[in-house]
Amino acid sequence: MSEHEDQYWEKIDDFLDGQLPQEERLAFEAQLEQEERVRKDLALQQQLRQGIAFGSQGPLRARLDRIQAEYQADKQDEGGKVVPMGQGLMNRWLMAAGLLIGALTILFLIQQPASNADLFASNYEPYELKTTMRGPDEEDLSSLAIEAYEAGNYETAVPRLEAALAAAPEQAALQLALAISQWENGAIAAAQETLTPLLEHPLLQDQANWYAALFDLANDDTAAARAHLEVVVSSGGVLGGKAEALLDEM
């Protein structure tokens, strides 16, 4: 076949695709009416085009088979019918779910007992030494230690308290102040060790057990804290009410 023949079949294709300019289209339509050969060629070209499209489905069908298998597998995993949800509706549901979860979380937090760390923070304050303990000589070891302790200068207070206690070990209040100073300086084990001899002291037993309980709470040792607080409650002293309230909170 010649190049001229190819152009003829191109024209038929263009006609079928609606690509012929109007003038050419009208001329071709006139030719179709007049010539049976052209009508037959047009029909043949349509059949070939359709056959090519039909024969081209193989790769597409294979892809669709795979997609369909994936879809069916997903559907089975979900255990039910897939129901499309509009983006707007999904947004509203998710927002509502978020607000509900937030509200429930707040309610949950309100209902929760305070943590041991919270209980420690709300009950702890350094032991207040009585000023009457201050000696006549402002320069003696005890007075210097008390001065540093009352000023909250615990780093200075610790060596001064240790020196004062070395000189006069019977000063239980200073030993309590030393335990608290050590605690404030982060020497937790040392603070607890300093406090231990005071737990059965006739005068400072309640205070010692109170601080021991607070230190235990800070260490998240609820059972030990409870034991110390029960000692304070049973002694019936001035700290009994606070200890009882703290036990209730726990």
């Binding site: 076949m1 023949e5 190819d6 079949w9 191109e10 695709d17 609606g18 690509q19 037959k40 029909a43 043949l44 059949q47 070939l48 085009r49 359709q50 056959g51 090519i52 499209a53 039909f54 024969g55 081209s56 489905q57 597409l60 069908r61 892809r63 669709l64 088979d65 997609i67 369909q68 994936e70 879809y71 997903d74 979900e78 019918k81 897939v82 129901v83 499309p84 949800m85 509009g86 983006q87 999904m90 947004n91 998710l94 927002m95 779910a97 978020g98 607000l99 979860i101 937030g102 509200a103 979380t105 707040i106």
Partner: protein, 221 residues
Amino acid sequence: MIFSIFTAVYFSPNWLPFFPLSNYKVLSVVNDKAILAHLQSERPGQQDRGFKSLYEQYYGMIEQLVLRNSGDIEDAADVFQDGLVALFHKVRQVDFKLTASIKTLLYAICRNVWLMKLRKRKRESPITEVHEETVGLDAEALQLLETNDRNQLVAEGLAQLGEDCRQVLQLYYFEKCRMKQIADQMGYSGEQVAKNKKSRCMRKLREWVLSQPQASEMLQY
């Protein structure tokens, strides 16, 4: 309240791609414009995204149509796939314009496909609709699916051609690519080269088909 806002924001869809909830599949409606763009894309991966969206959104509807009209699950799967092939072919036509929703168009195609199958089984009866809207269809998209002897013969001829020829004809007549796209995809130097190649390949196919003994009767040529 701050926590409420935080949780609401956390669970909002914008975050989901970054923090997907386990065992939760977000199934959102992909709009017609996006589906059309996917199906009309030259990239098979994009086309497959369009097909997946169509499965997720409309397979259930077509399944109901077939099940309520004397078909079974396997029929539904076949009809839906035939419908997708016809829809794919239709939306890739050069002059295609979407005048109804994809849902309505796909429903009309699948409905016709199922009617054709019922007719062949001689079980045609008034159809119970599952989608109210309808749309007129041109026959071309549906003719594509007919497995008649004539189509088989041409398909056989197509398979006889060389790989290049087969690809060019498929790109032009099935995927409705323009000559520029064919030239790009096949690595030809220009549109005219692609056009000449297509003419030569079509001539070979025509000659092969017409040389077959049964051609004259089948093609009435």
